[in-house]
Symmetry: C2
Amino acid sequence: MAPSTRPAGNRRERPAKPALTRAGIVDTALRVMAAEGLDRVTMRRLAQELDTGAASLYVYVRNTAELHAAMLEELLGQIDLSPVTADGDWQDRLVQILTSYTAILFGHPGLAQSALVTRPNGPAYFGLVDGVLALLAAGGIPGGRAAWAVDLLLHLATSAAAEQGTREHAIDTQDEDEALLAALRDAPAGRFPHLAAIGAGELMSGGGAERLSWGFHVLINGVIQTPRPEPEATS
Amino acid sequence: MAPSTRPAGNRRERPAKPALTRAGIVDTALRVMAAEGLDRVTMRRLAQELDTGAASLYVYVRNTAELHAAMLEELLGQIDLSPVTADGDWQDRLVQILTSYTAILFGHPGLAQSALVTRPNGPAYFGLVDGVLALLAAGGIPGGRAAWAVDLLLHLATSAAAEQGTREHAIDTQDEDEALLAALRDAPAGRFPHLAAIGAGELMSGGGAERLSWGFHVLINGVIQTPRPEPEATS
DNA sequence: ACCTGAACACCGTTCAAGT
DNA sequence: ACCTGAACACCGTTCAAGT
């Protein structure tokens, strides 16, 4: 309203130093992550990128964990929730949105790791939870049971991504796998008879995607079959 | 065999500085963790405790992640595997050993967190896996399916502990819960109808133990019902 | 209210040099 | 082979002081 009192020349020229905002910080964090990985997303590095001091960021985010949660919340906006209202089998549609969620996390495994420990709680996450609940309701799962089931389903997706992510950015993944395989083979069959019977190969078999999809179906089938311990509220 | 060439006076007197060994490092790490939490178990702090320099530890452990894995492996020795060979329903016995595993992790939540990302691979862990496989075999689960199921079951236990652990050592757990509850209540019912229908209370209801036990049963029931995608190897 | 520089109190890991 | 001190390259967070 009143004419700007700032120094001349800032009318519409490129603002060399954009105002600090929470959204700006989160976007910068996502950009740095995309370019160099989550490890490099530190308060100090972000501050440098934003041409300020690390201390300034604490006006907008409480700490690093909250920053990570905000980054994930931002990405969660990309989830395709259209299967919620589409036609077709509810189980298939449920797996579709879980897969959409998983795809985002697989693209940003560091965030998946932090999501295991700090649950996101913004509107995008709520939208996902609401979508899963909608499909469980469509499948006739009582509300109380569904409330618990959401957690199980999202958790499986999150931890699969976190795990796969750790593996991929570790340089010595193959070494570790070989070590584990070797350890499994060396495990005395007398002491670990069932392990020996099944064999190391079988234990580690299957692509991540195949296993995850199987896991989703295990959970869905299990949820259908398993009432909550307490007398369930009727929807 | 040959008489010691070390300085006199070390025959059987208290060794002020015990020899560095991997086992000694791991034990010290466990002691520090018990006293002050996993955060304080740093290479530098451990070195100080062992009266040496941090660099010396790298002769025995590759890095911090490996140290954590070794600590967990040590604790896993305490798991009660007796239900594996006991009488009774295989599902009950399976839940018993999973609960025994969980109890250890709940006592050391920081380690649970690191186990989500770096799988343990020592004999104690193999013993646990073998026990779970034994009970799944007792339940008639085909070997190939059982191999995948172990992962799911142990993962659920691990992540429940990791999560609960984070909460407990966070000072602002209650603040966070209140914030989440408030956010859930504020979530517009029009936008998140199913969330609103179920209610925040329901979504977060249930003690950890109750929910975890339900989760185990969901998985077991699901595993019973859900064949692996490929034609399964016959036992 | 917002922003800053500087400080506090640390980290993991590597490496050349010693024994 | 094992052990060490010192160095490299960083961290998150707080706080008094400025605007």
